[in-house]
Amino acid sequence: MVVGDLVGRRGAWLTDDRSRGIAISARVRLARNLAGESFPDWADEAGRRRVLRMVVEAARASGALPESIFISMDETGDTDARILMERRLISAELADRGPGGGLLLQPDESVALLVNEEDHLRIQVIQPGMDLRGAWERADAVDTALEAILAYAFSSELGYLTACPSNCGTGLRASVMLHLLGLRLTNDLEPVLKALDRLRLAVRGIGGEGSDAAGHMFQVSNQETLGLDEPSIIADLSRVIADVARQEMNARLRIMEDAPHLAEDCVARALAILQNARVLQSEEALDYLSALRLGVELRLLRRLTMAEINELLLATQPGHLRQRMREPLEADERDRLRADFVRERMAAVSLRA
């Protein structure tokens, strides 16, 4: 299987009914390093290759990822790297790593090992919905299988030793992607984001670090990894996420009770643009698809399903579009093709009377 084969699929975080609604996907990531090896940024190429070999062998021997495919960053072209990033499987840092950078991926994309990103090993589990505990348990099982073979850099005082001290201890970063358009429409989004900040949680846009909140999708994650055990980190974050999801639900209910025309206007405008635009940028597409997502959930639209929106969310991203067209495209040409593609998909959709 090659990266291009992923393009026709929906992605681990968008695969089933649990990815409808406010919590789109849950992700857990464990940072680990091998004892006696320099961390990837500081290691030389031979060292990174050695670590890659050890991790890949351990993964195979442990049976932790039974059907995994291996993708070498060294041999991954721009479009493929871009596709992997858009599917939230790898970071820009891993995409740029070159020799020694690698990805071991279960075919359903739910479990991945990122090798020689910031740390030697990142065990990543992505699931639809907000089941952080389930994601943690899966990551924990993979980790336990791997640690039987690999000797990790570990200290009894600081736990798992990571390239950046901000990840040491458990090395656990958990996050949930939330769709918070209701709170935006009721003007309640800012206080919620501020409260999350006060709780020392990080809030990022859909693209991860450094990205803004395109499509009103926010990734909320823990920042503290030392001084708390894994179940506490997961439980604390889950509680807050459930709270935010409840707030979003209340906002949606309030809109539909007090000012349904606000939601209808937002959805109708988005549909009008997606059905008529001749040039469409990817962020723009994300914003309007986000509005249609709300429209489907509030039953304002006909002949459009959540699965179709989820598919378009990925298909309209630059890398996916380029792969679909099977040729390198200039940005403005891409915007035109994106508009054509979305227009065609939206042709039959209509507002409920």
Binding site: F39, D41, A148, A151, F154, E157, L226
Partner: protein
């Protein structure tokens, strides 16, 4: 004493400079010291390699602390807050402690422990208990401890050797 450069501010540091082989010591204010440092060939060397000390504290030049294992110097760590290897945690402990205090919930790990680390910790505890028991001639207890030690996984290897 006023700064030998700007003659305006009180001198707070002594900077040792090697200019064309001639070593000079100059008493400078903080701003001029910083300025001088920036003019020197390698900022990193100056900021992290050469210790600038107050006149009362002597004028020692200390080499940059460096990790024996991976060779990372403090300057490189300070630049992007990433360490070179696990050993750097000991080498740069003083630089890391405030970062951990600022960013983390606590200063000690309380989460998962890899099986082989757990086994090693158990071994150390059992070995010292065994020694104590033998020394104190509590032989029955010693026999139990010896059996428990034997049941532990071999040193360095992990329990099970391959959980599926």
């Amino acid at each position: 004493m006023n700064c030998e450069d700007c003659h305006q501010q009180p001198a707070v540091t002594t900077v040792t400079q090697n200019i064309d082989g001639i070593v000079r010591e100059r008493n400078l204010c903080a701003a001029c010291a910083r300025h001088t440092a920036q003019k020197m060939s390698s900022l990193i060397d100056v900021l992290f390699g050469v210790e600038i000390e107050t006149p009362a504290g002597g004028k020692a030049i200390r080499p940059e602390p460096e990790c024996d294992i991976c060779g990372m110097g403090r300057g490189a760590f300070k630049k992007n807050h990433r360490l070179g290897c696990a050993e750097c945690y000991s080498v740069f402990a003083h630089d890391i402690a405030p970062i951990i205090k600022e960013m983390q919930h606590g200063e000690r790990h309380v989460g998962k422990i890899p099986a082989r680390e757990r086994a090693n910790a158990d071994r150390i505890t059992l070995e010292s208990a065994l020694k104590r028991a033998v020394r104190e001639q509590r032989f029955e207890e010693a026999a139990v401890l010896r059996d428990r030690l034997r049941d532990l996984v071999p040193e360095g290897a992990a329990k099970g050797g391959g959980d599926k």
